[in-house]
């Protein structure tokens, strides 16, 4: 079954079966890679935060650059009001980025290639942003669905469209990440399969593609984490600074 490009997305139990009531919460390979990503983030950033030299070394520079990068991203898109949510967005960006990057290691598992994982993250963001919006603006948050400067005749239609687009945010956010990761990994698997099936004679072309795709996928892994985080910032911006 190893030739099946979807095989890599299989989730299987590692260790014993754990059940709470009827719910199966066994430790799986997906859980393993979540734990690995989390640990990697914590180790890297703990090492980076430990040293307090005026002139940073490589690992300190890495963590400080990441900090400034995310900080700038938030202040650019959501303004100064979003400062309290910095830690969440930073964790989110790093988690998605590390899960994507660990997925690039051959024979590893890509946590973010599962719709349920990305959907839970996106749904959490969606619910959180909605709660923040209603807490900040009360019922005035509903003005988000009524853009200013729209003719009254069109208004009912626009409001419906706005509501649908608002409600589809978690779906678009989660599917974007999941589909990108799944498609990329499937492609790589497919081209890897070509290399094997075409053998020494014809395998060089798909091998080249495979190499190029690996580079592309690393870019996509970073880009999708960035997109995920920046869309979260944009949604947060809607909730914090009501423009409509």
């Amino acid at each position: 079954m190893a030739a099946n490009p979807m095989y890599q997305f299989n989730v299987y139990r590692i260790g014993p079966e754990i059940k709470i009531g009827e719910v199966d919460i066994s430790f799986t390979n997906a859980s393993l890679f979540m734990v690995i990503s989390t640990l990697a983030i914590l180790i890297v950033f703990n090492l980076g935060a430990k040293k307090k030299s005026l002139i940073p070394d490589k690992i300190q520079l890495l963590s400080e650059l990441s900090y400034s990068f995310v900080s700038k991203m938030i202040s650019d898109t959501a303004g100064a009001k979003a400062k309290p949510y910095f830690a969440f967005i930073f964790s989110l960006f790093m988690f998605v980025l590390f899960c994507n990057m660990f997925g690039m290691i051959p024979y590893s598992f890509t946590v973010t290639s599962h719709i349920i994982v990305t959907f839970v993250l996106a749904a959490f963001i969606f619910i959180g942003v909605t709660i923040i919006g209603f807490l900040k603006h009360g019922l005035g948050y509903l003005k988000l669905f009524v853009p200013s400067g729209v003719p009254i005749i069109l208004l009912p239609l626009i409001v419906v469209i706005e509501i649908i687009s608002y409600l589809s945010r978690p779906i678009s956010l989660s599917v974007r990440l999941f589909a990108n990761m799944m498609a990329g990994h499937t492609m790589m698997k497919v081209f890897g399969g070509f290399v094997v099936s075409l053998g020494l004679v014809g395998g060089w072309l798909p091998l080249g593609f495979s190499v190029a795709l690996t580079g592309l996928e690393i870019l996509v892994a970073f880009l999708q984490a960035y997109v995920f985080a920046i869309l979260t910032c944009i949604y947060l911006n809607d909730a914090l600074n009501l423009h409509h």
Binding site: M6, F9, S26, A30, Q60, F86, A87, F95, I115, M187
Partner: protein, 190 residues
Amino acid sequence: MKKIIIYLYALFSFNCIAKSAETGGMPQLNPEFWFSQIFWLTITFGILFIILSKFILPKIRNNLETRKSQIMENIEIADNQKMKSENNLKEYDKIISDAKDTAKKTFNLAKEKIQLDLGKEREKIESELNSEIHDAENDIKDLKKSSPEKISLIAVDTAAEIIQKLIGVEVNKSNVTAIVNEQVKLMKGK
């Protein structure tokens, strides 16, 4: 090229679908481990968020802020030192110019004093000389005045003595004096 890729991909995908049909399509849509994934995602992401927000991110922020403040401090110190050195330079210049001025003044003062002293001394010496000259002139005048009388007195005395010696007679001095005076008048009359 794209067409070839799409064609190959479609070909392979058909194969895949045929194969994955056996295992039940996309594993992502198999809800068997959904709760497990949600559970572990919550735990790992929760731990990550808590540790990052409570322990690691504040440290990094502190590091960045201390660096920033230290750089600002250093710039400030450098500015202060620059200003200080500029002031020092000004002071130094001032001291030098002051010293030049005072040197000039002292020089002038000394010159004046010397000239003054010189003048005083000269005056003193001149006045002394004048007075001496005056005295000498007076003496000469006195002498000039007194000399004829003395001469006549001496003449009288000597005349009297000569007469005594010659003839051994004491002559009346008033007679001699009268004769001498006559003779002097005669000589003066000449």
